[in-house]
């Protein structure tokens, strides 16, 4: 008798679970042992059951896939975990891999891509579907890379700026001198080479640097 990889699927979309099930049923050495619509149920399950491979959606309710992966890998480093999502960004994929993920597949991948990735992942490789490769390889040299973060105070001030507060109002809110706030504003603008607050706010929001 052949040893089959005990596989769990986690996705909050029933039809996606169904689709992946169908796909995996073609693969001889994969056995789907459970399907979950949330990460919490999965965490319970792996405590009491042997699992070799997990296919998980990244955008899950309650606990997201990136955190879920980290939690699982801390206790069960040998479980192979592949992340999936419909759209994605470089930083998200990188964080997932950094948290121990063994691969990342975009849901628009073909069946063959899915299968190949899964096989390679259980062989120990870190795998990415084609479009993910494009996403993570592209913006290496660009300015998108290595953007310095806001300091605590700068973030506070940027947040209040995005709420339409004036320098004086921010100073009052934070019990600072008008001049201090002015300095922070200038520093932020200079740091990102922005012409004015409007451009700054657009930049910060697009890069999820506020909140």
């Amino acid at each position: 008798m052949i040893m089959k990889y005990k596989t769990v699927i986690v996705d909050d979309h029933p039809i996606v679970i169904s689709g992946i099930s169908g796909l995996l049923s073609d693969l001889d050495n994969i056995e789907i042992v459970e399907k979950f619509e949330s990460g919490i149920a999965l965490l319970d399950y792996i405590e009491d059951n042997k699992v070799d491979l997990i296919l998980m959606d990244i955008f899950l309710p309650v606990i997201n896939g990136v955190d879920l992966c980290k939690t699982i890998k801390q206790k069960h480093p040998r479980i192979v975990i592949i992340g999936m999502s419909s759209q994605s960004e470089r930083s998200l994929v990188m964080q997932f891999i950094q948290n121990g993920g063994n691969g990342y597949i975009l849901k628009n991948a073909s069946f063959d891509e899915f299968k190949e990735c899964i096989y390679k992942a259980i062989d120990g490789e870190i795998v990415f579907s084609e479009e993910v490769k494009t996403i993570i390889s592209q913006p290496l040299s660009e300015d998108l890379e290595r953007i310095p973060g806001l300091s605590r105070r700068e973030r506070d001030i940027a947040l209040l700026l995005s709420q339409g507060k004036s320098t004086q109002e921010i100073a009052d809110d934070l019990f600072l001198s008008f001049l201090t706030v002015q300095t922070h504003r200038r520093n932020i603008l200079q740091k990102y080479k922005m012409k004015n607050v409007a451009e700054l706010i657009a930049f910060l929001l697009k890069n999820n640097m506020l909140n």
Copy 2:
């Protein structure tokens, strides 16, 4: 012999197509005649083939589901079209229905919900999955409702503002008088009761009103 509803699935995610196929194969009077990963291929197909029901993803490459629905309904008003997406907003669903869509299902709906919606839709009802109902019913009285849109010119100017352009630069870019741009700026700020451009840009971006 029973007449079966000739059904087409459009989704750019192969696994979703597979999932829906599996689901629909349970239904006696539904026959899946084709599957597409883009709207263009679908438009070609329906010119030469009889189709009764279309299940389509809203977020498709090249042409989105909302526009696709409109195009199809203009030529083939009798085809029943059900929209699907992972996440959604009120305005998107409403626009889809206004364009002739016969229903809208969130992809996190259960199999039973899917089946029920499909049956009701081919019976002539306008159907929504549970979560969609919640989305479209909730924010009726709230301020979230009835936010007036930007006019074309206003959108142009707001976009340039988000790029850090000054009034004079915008005037030069759009071949307008400095004073005209000033008036537009004022009108936009007044329309949304924003204190300054920073707050405005934050507001517009959070509500996906730029681009």
